[in-house]
């Protein structure tokens, strides 16, 4: 667990960060480091340079707009989301963040890092897909917005390109959400996960079963309709030491029903 030689810079502004990232193909943004530093320790990936985003004020903070939309800075940590009174406008965010790993990781790990990693077992990609979040990306060409459905492109691959930085995550208003997972040990890594959100219709996102969250629209909240949606979906769960493909497929169904049921309970509240 020793890194290769790497350059390091700590820009004070978004503009500086963009410059640094654009200048070197091998440069990578460093957010909380709870994934990237481990990757570098294993030498599974060795950027030439790290651009530390921790000093950039524009990337922090959570704002609650009048219409209930949350705007979360990409460098907001899980702990900050859990502690934020603004974030309580969408309670599922804090509830799911509280399940990620442990206190130490939550104190450093960021929402931006979580989704930019696009690890199929991460909690936030399926959650934000179900919530219909939007990702704000900033680069030399200015700002652009990408919907969650188009943000996750593959394992470790997102719509954020070279010379760009994810700056904010916009989450629409709502409270009827659910999240269910089977994990490796309590609050451990996800083996299978499902996130659901009800806003008139049901939006369901399955994690861990494919390279990116599998987003589905069951006909109703009824368990049969949820299962039918999952069965009809086109995904290929991996087999690994923790679960066979068959087991993951089965869990996807079970967890989808549970997540939708949780969300449905909240519509009654």
């Amino acid at each position: 667990m020793l890194l290769r030689e790497v350059g390091y810079a700590r820009p004070e502004s978004l503009g500086e960060a963009i410059q640094l990232l654009a200048a070197d193909d091998g440069a990578r943004a460093l957010a909380g480091g709870q994934t990237l530093i481990n990757v570098m320790k294993a030498r599974a990936g060795s950027p030439d340079a790290l651009v530390d985003l921790s000093r950039i004020e524009e990337l922090r903070g959570i704002e609650l707009a009048g219409d209930g939309t949350l705007e979360i800075g990409a460098m907001t940590t899980y702990s900050q989301i859990m502690a934020s009174s603004e974030a309580r406008a969408r309670p599922i965010l804090g509830e799911v963040c509280a399940q990620i790993a442990d206190v130490q990781v939550r104190n450093r790990g960021t929402i931006g890092g979580n989704i930019c990693t696009s690890d199929p077992t991460n909690h936030l990609p399926p959650l934000l897909a179900a919530l219909g979040a939007e990702m704000v990306i900033y680069g030399a060409a200015g700002e652009r917005v990408v919907a969650a459905d188009e943000f996750f492109l593959g394992v470790y691959m997102t719509a954020v390109g070279t010379g760009e930085v994810l700056t904010k995550i916009r989450v629409p208003a709502g409270r009827s959400d659910g999240f269910a997972a089977v994990t490796l040990g309590i609050e451990g890594t996800c083996i299978a996960s499902a996130a659901a959100s009800i806003n008139g219709s049901v939006k369901l996102a399955l994690g861990c079963v494919d390279a990116v969250p599998v987003v589905l629209a069951p006909a109703s909240v009824a368990a049969d309709d949820v299962r039918a949606a999952v069965q009809a979906a086109d995904f290929f769960p991996p087999s690994d030491v923790h679960a066979s493909s068959e087991y993951r497929t089965h869990l996807a169904e079970v967890l989808a029903v549970r997540a939708v049921a949780q969300a449905s309970e909240k519509t009654k509240g």
Partner: protein, 823 residues
């Protein structure tokens, strides 16, 4: 013959007590450890030291066709390298415990010519910093010619590729053990229960601190000093001396604080040889700290074992008459401490049960996986799991309550000491009583109501019992049962106790604690004998071969400290006490019988004012000894004692004899609730009952029970060293190899009884390894939960959620295959 006692009255250490034994004296070690002032091996630094990084094999099985270290050596800051070729010319291959043909294995400190498991070390690189050593290792160029690997022990014979051409076979050891009269037992049986396959999985205890060493070579004297965390220096020295072609006294092992061992820090002699060779070659101290990943890939996996074609002879009422089975042990790529595992299980051949007719055909094979070496419960755990599975499967097939079948067949307390069919002697114990205590703790009387309640919530409740013995203090003569040419027998441990010039009492131990807190019970024993306070006894931290120069078996392993370590301490303290009294007698002018040791002096019992304080004793003998009587010639107040347990060499023909001195007991009861939709289960109630004879420090004993329980629960549900078909380890770190964290811990209830051992100096028994009971209990609980829900037989020791789900969905395919034949 022995009596069991109810939990004795315990006085907290603040109050004056007649004896320190049995008191929860706070540990001496803790003060430094809670301040971060412990000295663990990676904390030790030397000026100019080099850091080692090992280049390890990416292949499970391959010829090495070339090695080029030149680019690595050219990197600035690199001090040098070591290859297998050098090792082969500078050292002898390690002594093999096996007999032919495995005795021909050429085991060197680095791979020579061939690699046999992913993670095997091939080249060592040493550099100025840790990072540079790592960088340089990437510049070492190695070419391989891959061979098909063997990763399933069941495929290791026949025309499988052979790992060791020198042996010509993958069978590292085989033999048959038979005691009693199998034919008669099977003839007398009402039924024969056949179990196709039972499998005990591969895992280990992953101590939080990995292995490490800092080796220094004294060029003037040829002496190596090895700061390390090896927990059995006696064994390491015996292996390393001949390999390094040096006298055994040239290897000085120094340990202080060790971050857990659990048996997994015994077989590091190959890495230590590398450190020694490099320290000498590079003329500087050389440091190695094992990476977590390297530990998982290469170090001391517990034996993986299959039990095939088991047949059990039973009566209709559940009386067990006997069993036969074929044990297939997967020992990985090298024999490191193996093949001792092929005999060590027989310390508990009948488990806790009274059947007299046993046959085990035992085969140990090599596979392209990490070498197996001792792990907590070494080889007995696997066998005890087997016997517990048999009990539960018999109960299942005969539709009897596993509680009743156990009580019917447990060895009884009035039969103790109990000689087993192979001549081992269970010293004392009361299993039935412990089972009752455990059942009471989980409110067994109301289990049906709990089951109904769980069902109403959509959950399947299961209750399981795991009973286990912790056989401690080995008779190393059992090694002769697997190789009659070996010259090991008995056991020993050493301690010294001295009175220094200012009356300070100082103890050195031959043992090597890795968290068992040896300094504290040692002080308790010594303070009782010398009549001083616990705080007056200084125990040197750790182990140093210089202090008391081996007993051959010095170290801490195999559940023996309370017997061998404390036996040595008691012996040395008794010698010192006798010497102090003789001195006191001469100086105070009173006969020895009239004297006592109390309050840090020797004094006349009936006239305690007449006293010689220890300070005076120490001063007289060490600095003021002119004119002392001649008969005090041998009074040095520096006493060394080697404790030797009473063992004989077993009957090698019949495989018969006493192999361990003491048998501690643990009985666990687990209550789980299974979510049938996912296979996920929670432990909702758990009881651990233990009996380790006289407890010197009850809280330390309870800590061992808790820790072992946690390790067992981890192994039962999450922990496995799983390999893919190419021999890659799929769980090489704590991310994938999940160990229990705080949130995973179930509620725990404990109880204890004390059945003193009649065979040990203090009535104590070693007890560090008994927690395997947790694995047995979880297996039993899962099987119980599945009764009436597919009725799958649990045939594997490892039951993660996906396995439980499979047992629910496909009981016939995923579970064990059992058939019952009317005899």
């Amino acid at each position: 013959m022995t009596s069991t006692t109810i939990t004795p009255e315990r006085v907290e250490s603040d109050a004056p007590a007649a004896t320190q034994k049995g008191q929860n004296v706070p540990r001496k070690e803790d003060r430094r450890l809670v301040q971060g002032e412990g000295i663990f091996v990676d904390d030790v630094k030397r000026h100019g030291m080099g850091y080692i990084h090992f280049v390890r094999s990416p292949y499970a099985h391959a010829h090495i066709t070339s090695i080029d270290v030149s680019k690595a050596e050219e990197l600035p800051g690199v001090y040098g390298t070591l290859t297998g070729e050098e090792v082969a010319s500078l050292t002898e291959p390690f002594f093999q415990l096996a007999r032919e043909p495995a005795s021909h294995l050429q085991d060197y400190a680095l791979a020579v010519g061939k690699v046999r498991f992913v993670g095997e070390s091939i080249v060592a690189v040493v550099a100025e910093t840790r990072e540079l050593a790592r960088d340089a290792s990437e510049l070492v160029e190695i070419e391989y010619d891959p061979i098909a690997p063997i990763v399933d022990a069941r495929m290791a014979q026949g025309d499988a590729p052979v790992l060791h051409d020198d042996a010509g076979t993958n069978v590292m050891w085989e033999g048959s053990f038979e005691w009693g009269d199998l034919d008669a037992a099977f003839a007398e049986a009402d039924k024969i229960i056949k179990i196709d396959e039972l499998h005990f999985h591969r895992f280990n205890s992953t101590p939080l601190e990995t292995n490490g060493a800092l080796a220094e070579f004294n060029r003037g004297t040829g002496q190596w000093t090895i700061h390390c965390n090896n927990q059995f220096p006696g064994f390491a020295a015996i292996m390393m001396g001949p390999a390094l072609r040096c006298g055994i006294d040239k290897l000085r092992f120094v340990t202080q604080d060790i971050g857990g061992g659990f048996g997994n820090k015994i077989t590091t002699h190959p890495q230590l040889v590398v450190c020694c060779l490099l320290a000498r070659k590079l003329r500087r101290p050389v440091q190695w700290t094992e990476w977590r990943t390297d530990f998982h890939m290469s170090m001391s996996h517990a034996n993986e074992r299959w039990f095939l074609d088991t047949e059990v002879a039973v009566k209709n009422d559940g009386t067990l008459l006997g069993f036969r089975t074929k044990a297939l042990d997967d020992t990985g790529a090298w024999l490191r401490y193996e093949p001792l595992g092929c005999i060590i299980w027989s310390q508990v051949a009948p488990g806790m049960y009274r059947w007299r007719n046993i046959r085990v055909d035992f085969t140990q094979v090599a596979t392209n996986k990490a070498p197996c070496s001792p792990n907590r419960g070494y080889s007995r755990m696997q066998h005890l799991w087997f016997t517990e599975r048999v009990i539960d499967i018999v109960a299942h097939e005969l539709d009897l309550d596993p509680v009743d079948v156990r009580k019917l067949n447990y060895v009884r307390s009035d039969e103790m000491p109990y000689e087993t069919p192979n001549g081992c002697v269970y010293d004392s114990g009361d299993y039935a009583r412990m089972l009752d205590l455990g059942l009471e703790l989980v409110d067994y009387a109301n289990i049906d109501a709990r089951r109904a309640d769980a069902k109403a919530r959509g959950k399947l409740l299961g209750l399981g019992i795991g009973s286990t013995l912790d056989s401690g203090t080995n008779n190393f003569a059992q090694s002769q049962l697997i190789n009659s040419d070996l010259q090991f027998s008995g056991n020993n441990e050493v301690a010294t106790v001295k009175l220094d010039i200012f009356g300070e009492i100082v103890v050195t131990l031959g043992t090597v604690p890795q968290g068992q807190g040896h300094e504290t019970p040692t002080s308790q024993v010594v303070s009782d004998i010398l009549g001083c306070s616990v705080d007056d006894v200084q125990v040197r931290a750790g182990h140093d071969s210089y202090w008391n120069s081996h007993a051959g078996f010095s170290g801490t392993y195999a559940s023996q400290f309370a017997v061998t370590g404390l036996g040595a301490v008691k012996g040395a303290a008794d010698l010192l006490a006798a010497q102090i009294k003789r001195l006191g007698s001469a100086v105070l002018g009173a006969p020895i019988e009239a004297l006592e040791l109390a309050e840090g002096s020797v004094r006349i019992k009936d006239n305690p004012e007449v006293a010689l304080p220890f300070m005076a004793c120490g001063a007289i003998i060490n600095a003021n000894n002119a004119g002392l009587p001649d008969d005090l010639e041998d009074v040095t107040l520096n006493c060394r004692y080697v404790y030797k347990p009473p063992f004989q060499v077993p009957d090698l023909e019949r495989n018969f004899g006493n192999l361990t001195l003491t048998y501690a007991t643990q009985i666990h009861v687990a209550v789980i609730e299974v979510d049938p939709e996912t296979g996920y289960y929670d432990i909702v109630d758990y009881a651990a009952v233990d009996d380790c004879g006289k407890r010197i420090n009850p809280r330390i004993v309870e800590g061992q029970v808790m820790g072992a329980t946690a390790l067992a629960l981890g192994a039962a549900t999450w922990e496995i060293y799983a390999y893919d078909e190419d021999g890659n380890l799929l769980t090489p770190n704590f991310y994938d190899y999940h160990v229990p964290h705080a949130l995973d811990m179930p509620p725990l209830k404990t109880a204890d009884i004390e059945s003193p051992s009649p065979f040990t100096p203090l009535g104590t028994k070693g007890m560090g390894e008994g927690g395997g009971a947790g694995i047995h209990a979880i297996c039993a609980a899962v099987q119980d939960a599945l009764r009436g829900n597919g009725d799958a037989i649990v045939a594997d020791s490892h039951n993660p959620y996906h396995k439980v789900w499979e047992l629910l969905e496909h009981p016939a395919e995923a579970g064990g295959h059992v058939s019952v034949v009317n005899a």
